[in-house]
Symmetry: C2
Subunit: 204 residues, 2 copies
DNA sequence: TTGACCTGTGTCACTTAGTGACATACGTTC
DNA sequence: GAACGTATGTCACTAAGTGACACAGGTCAA
């Protein structure tokens, strides 16, 4: 058996992102996306509820990578230590880098393309659920607990704001960021926003 | 001149909400909404980018009323004092109450109707901007300041989570809430989530 | 009052987003 | 290799959403 291949939606997502970026959302049709991805348009509509939501998978894997990686955050490590250990430049594949660039450009485009914002927010919402799970584990509480949900949502929001901030700075302001720099900002934001003591090592 | 009449979109929004609630989103067409509101369908599409977004105005005025009221929060008052003073049961008009009920029912419907979630998140995002302004005023900083944006977003998220929590408890669990109870939860959540000292009186 | 102007809405023809029903192709499992 | 489940393509269709233009009502200056 093949070592679980990549989600085919993600491939389509990349094509959609590129089309949206260079012609705008309004000027690209579902057929264009299908053609670019080498699929029938029917399959595209099976993958996605709407053309805007075609970029959700890209947002999910790329821009929210930190969020997803937090699922594996061991209990006995602080947020700074963990993030610096687990996300290092040399571990990034070219594909991941390309996805990040694409996602960042899309996020920077949000002010001009309100239609994409709902896809962005939906992706963030999906990540919120996984963050809430993480908070539940680190606090030894249920993921249905109100305070756990509140903390998880606050943390996710912090990640989103950092993401938006970095994306606009990088694209519209042409600033350059190193990965450790980004990680520092993420970690600091998580620490600031967390409403429960999850950032330092917790008892097992 | 008339004392600025209500936004006509809000009227349409109420009809859309009622249709969505009783037949589901998929089973109500743009034409149905137009007919219910007594408008041509063309006007409906002029008002809204999509049929799902037709409920945004309702979310905006009703469920996010606290958020909007925070714009007028005086500097020398604590959050608890202010909210209890400004939102009192006897001040609620029947229309406002009806809107709240509708909005709460819609929020409770979100898990079954993912299409509505993006409208909800977009409404929350719009409110986020006004909350950020409020934080800027209370901290004497710019609304473009990163920490201000982070705090505003965290506060808005707290409001959203309380809202979702109360809505599901009220509808699926049939719990009843008094207004002061709701206000207490909102105030507590804001206090917990705020990352800057905005909840107590601040120097002018 | 008139007429120029602006804004909001309706009509209607049109494009594009999105679905249902059915056929086909591929990989599993037995 | 037959039987099955899953993913995709084809095609006809419905519904979402737009462009162009006409018309009604209010405002304002002459």
């Amino acid at each position: 058996m093949p070592p679980d291949r990549e989600d085919p939606r993600l491939t389509v997502s990349r094509h959609a992102a590129e089309l949206f970026l260079d012609r705008g959302v309004a000027a690209t049709s579902g057929d264009d996306i299908a053609a670019a991805a080498g699929l029938s348009k029917r399959t595209v509509w099976r993958y996605f509820r709407s053309k805007e939501s075609a970029v959700e998978p890209l947002f999910a894997v790329s821009s929210l990578r930190f969020a997803n990686q937090l699922s594996a955050w061991p209990l006995d490590v602080s947020i700074e230590t963990y993030l610096h250990a687990v996300v290092r430049p040399q571990d990034q594949t070219p594909r991941e880098i390309a996805d990040d660039v694409l996602a960042v450009r899309l996020v920077a485009l949000l002010p001009k393309e309100p239609a994409l914002r709902s896809a962005w927010l939906m992706a963030c919402h999906a990540a919120e659920e996984t963050i809430i799970e993480m908070v539940a584990q680190r606090t030894q509480r249920w993921s249905t607990d109100f305070d756990v949900r509140l903390c998880g949502a606050a943390v996710m929001t912090a990640l989103r704001i950092v993401d938006e901030d970095i994306a606009t700075a990088a694209i519209t302001d042409r600033r350059e960021f190193t990965l450790p720099e980004v990680i520092d900002r993420m970690a600091e934001a998580i620490r600031t926003a967390s409403t429960l003591p999850i950032c330092d090592p917790v008892a097992p």
